[in-house]
């Protein structure tokens, strides 16, 4: 087993002056590209949660903003989902992954291709969101961006991914830490699934149900496998790093890695889908086997902190990561329950599945990314965030937002499913039975939006301050250069 290196001993925590020359070099090299990716990610977060709030209000007041075509529910909803997935999750995950790879491998980030890639990525997301709103959506969940947007996103990913692979190649620390395994697999897997899905479903569609099958496969691989890989890479880095304890069993963490890629990648085909029966069957078996992933991840973290959850609660970044982890385990349990016949028959076609996927992409992945952002940003800029206290407020907004936003959806889904199975209940009454839950979930969406606003403003002010400092330094330098020249002549 080559993975023996732990992140703790090599570099000290935080941006304290004791930081080694290399890690400050890593931080300064990554400052501009990472800030761009973080900032743009936070921007999309705000856009997405605004769209999310609109669609959430439409759940229970269908005629709210029904008039302009581009604000109809069927367009706002996928725009909300995909701007979160590609604008925030993909973008910030790339930034956090780059930083982790640089830190763990003791290499520097070459900023230029990353900045170019970030540009392409964001052009792609702009085109994608506008495309969905103007009626160009592909119609498949998590894959709704039209093909012209997907091409930009793929290009942007390529420009960031290739330097990332090269960074792994020229790393100074040869032994691999577990997080690097996760990151490397994620780095290769995304372009594979994204190109497959976009080529075969959106650009040159196959016939009939082959389309939804591939779309389901993609959604599971993106939202469970890929996000799991990146999210766990961050978790397995941050938990030992911040608590100062070594990750207890790297082998168990690697077991989570193998089970995640082996079983997770086969999940995603709904039980009732009108496709050849072997597909849902294999998928169900794979889903049940993902229990191994969740058990091993929970064990690793539990043993690392020795059962003292308080350790995780002391640091704000870790608090985000901990909530993310809880959501990961809950979403996993929900998915396994969903795939078992007795329960799945109820939750099929209901809000429950929506709550489950959002718990994965928002509750787990976005929360983990928030933790990484609040951990990384002060280090790369060498100063605190402008409003450090807002981060704590953001944490509670996001956590309560998940609680109020998703728990009612899951419960409402169960009520809805039970009513759907009972043909005596008229369909209109089935829809009505969920209304109260949907109203509560709107409250959660409001909280989430507020939290995102705080994060965005924090980063925006930080960016403006940095620009001002850079301009002042540049001016000062120009003046000091100009004066002696003037004296001489």
């Amino acid at each position: 087993m080559s993975a023996t290196e732990s992140p703790i001993p090599s570099s000290s925590v935080g941006s304290s002056p004791g930081c080694g020359a290399i890690s400050s070099g890593i931080d300064s090299s990554s400052r501009l590209p990472l800030l761009i990716l973080f900032g743009a990610g936070a921007f999309w977060l705000v856009v997405s949660s605004l769209l999310g709030l609109i669609s959430s209000i439409k759940f229970h007041s269908p005629n709210f903003l029904a008039e302009p075509a581009w604000l109809t529910y069927g367009r706002v909803r996928p725009a909300f989902a995909d701007s979160l997935l590609y604008g925030f999750c993909l973008q910030v995950a790339l930034a956090a992954g780059l930083w982790l790879a640089a830190r763990l491998g003791r290499t520097v980030i070459k900023p230029l291709p990353i900045i170019a890639g970030a540009k392409l990525l964001n052009i792609g997301v702009v085109l994608g969101v506008l495309g969905i709103l103007s009626g160009d959506a592909s119609g498949f969940d998590t894959l709704n961006f039209p093909r012209y947007a997907a091409a930009f996103i793929f290009g942007g990913y390529f420009l960031i991914g290739v330097p990332a692979v090269l960074m792994f190649h020229r790393r100074a620390v040869r032994t691999l830490y577990v997080s690097q395994w996760f990151l490397l697999a994620a780095l290769f897997w995304f372009p594979w699934i994204y190109s497959t899905a976009n080529l075969l479903v959106v650009a040159f569609p196959l016939r009939g149900v082959a389309q939804p099958i591939i779309a389901w496969w993609y959604a599971a691989n993106f939202q469970f496998v890929w996000m799991g890989l990146v999210g766990l890479a961050i978790t397995f880095y941050l938990v030992p790093k911040v608590t100062g304890r070594e990750l207890v069993s790297q082998n168990l963490a690697l077991f989570a890695f193998w089970t995640l890629i082996l079983f997770g990648s086969w999940t995603g085909i709904p039980r009732s889908a009108p496709v050849p029966a072997y597909l849902p069957s294999i998928s169900t078996v794979a889903t049940v086997l993902t229990t191994l992933v969740f058990v091993s991840v929970a064990l690793v973290i539990w043993k690392t902190v020795d059962g003292k959850i308080g350790l995780l609660w002391d640091s704000l970044s870790l608090r985000f990561v901990t909530v993310g982890l809880v959501c990961f385990l809950t979403a996993g349990l929900m998915n396994i329950a969903d795939s078992v016949a007795a329960f799945g028959a109820i939750t099929n076609f209901t809000w429950f599945t929506i709550a489950q996927t959002q718990l994965l992409s928002y509750g787990f992945f976005s929360m983990t990314l928030f933790g990484a952002m609040y951990f990384i940003t002060p280090q790369i800029v060498g100063r605190e965030l402008p409003f450090p206290k807002w981060a704590g407020v953001h944490f509670w907004m996001a956590t309560l937002g998940i609680l109020f936003g998703l728990a009612p959806l899951a419960l409402g889904g169960i009520v809805q499913g039970r009513n759907l199975l009972n043909a005596e209940v008229a369909f209109v009454d089935v829809a009505k039975s969920t209304l109260m839950f949907l109203r509560v979930s709107t409250l959660g969406d409001v909280l989430i939006l507020v939290g995102h606003g705080l994060l965005f403003v924090n980063l925006l002010v930080l960016g403006l301050r940095l620009v001002r400092i850079t301009c002042q330094a540049f001016l000062a330098e120009a003046i000091s250069e100009a004066q002696p020249a003037g004296v001489k002549s």
């Binding site: 592909s138 082959a210 691989n221 294999i282």
Partner: protein
């Protein structure tokens, strides 16, 4: 020793396996599906008419699949035994009926026989139904069993059988939907073939379905000045929804295409892999004669006025 490349290969194959299993293999079987025959011998499926195909694009663009599924499920199949013809030996038939259904009293059996053609029993296994049909075929009596899919979707009247891959052969994109915030639409064209109903429903859902949670789609319609003769396409709306005098509401081409698509949605053809006996086709002689008589009566009625 450096295990790096080995581990990389292992991870590669682990992930690639799902690509082969869930992308390539399905494409090699369901991706190669061709038209098939229904149990009646007709070709199935047939491509939708042109406007309906445009309507599918409107359906996609407006994210209708965000709320509507198009996949009927069934929890199982039952076999209803249908007695089509009593034959000549009523007493023997009544006895046979009591053998098939031991709970039946002689009086009840006779009562049932007086209502022929009638469904006399329901079995969950085909062999039982087969045996019952044999028992009932006494004295020239004709019995047969009908294959009836069951399940909440079918009880709701959303479809007659479960959907199968063949149903979607000519639809691209294939929008199966994953949530039922609205009802399933796999057979909405059977349920509600009235184009004008759909137009009014899209314009003002609550006017057609009380308590509906569907948003209205005013942008699929335009309000324009009515000519001397109101347009044949103008919506017949109730007074509170109707445009003011001299104006009318007509569907845009997108609106018309969407409705053409909706009424084209039907997947109730009996297929070998998802069989179903159509009740009307079942009692061979009685059925056809009866429907023929009805049809002629229906066509004659207006003429006699």
């Amino acid at each position: 020793m450096n295990y790096g490349p080995l581990i990389f290969l292992a991870a590669f194959f682990a992930l690639a396996s799902s690509w082969f299993g869930v992308v390539l293999t399905p494409q090699l079987n369901v991706g190669q599906l061709q038209q098939t025959n229904t149990l009646n011998g007709a070709l199935y499926p047939v491509a939708r008419p042109g406007t309906a195909q445009q309507g599918l694009q409107v359906y996609r663009a407006n994210g209708c699949a965000q709320c509507h599924s198009q996949q009927i499920g069934q929890s199982g199949t039952v076999f209803d035994v249908l007695l089509a013809n009593a034959g000549t030996n009523r007493a023997a038939l009544s006895e046979a009926l009591q053998k098939v259904k031991p709970t039946l009293s002689a009086a009840d059996a006779d009562q049932l026989l007086s209502r022929i053609p009638v469904e006399v029993a329901r079995f969950t296994r085909r062999e039982e139904a087969d045996a019952a049909v044999k028992t009932l075929s006494v004295g020239g009596a004709k019995a047969q069993f009908l294959v009836c899919p069951v399940g909440p979707d079918i009880t709701r009247g959303w479809g007659k059988r479960r959907n199968v891959a063949e149903d979607y052969l000519f639809d691209s994109p294939t929008l199966l939907g994953s949530v039922r915030i609205g009802p399933d639409l796999a057979n909405v064209g059977v349920r509600q073939p009235d184009i004008n109903w759909h137009l009014r429903h899209l314009y003002a859902p609550k006017s057609e379905v009380k308590g509906s949670t569907m948003p209205s789609y005013p942008y699929l319609f335009e309000k324009r000045k009515a000519g001397r003769q109101p347009s044949s396409e103008a919506l017949a709306l109730t007074s509170e929804l109707a445009a003011e005098k001299g104006w009318e509401i007509v569907p845009t081409p997108e609106g018309k295409a969407l409705v053409a698509y909706l009424v084209s949605l039907r997947s109730d053809a009996p297929l070998f892999i998802s069989p179903i006996s159509l009740a009307s086709a079942a009692p061979a002689e009685v059925g056809t004669n009866a429907s023929a008589a009805n049809a002629s009566a229906a066509t004659n009625a207006p003429a006699s006025k």
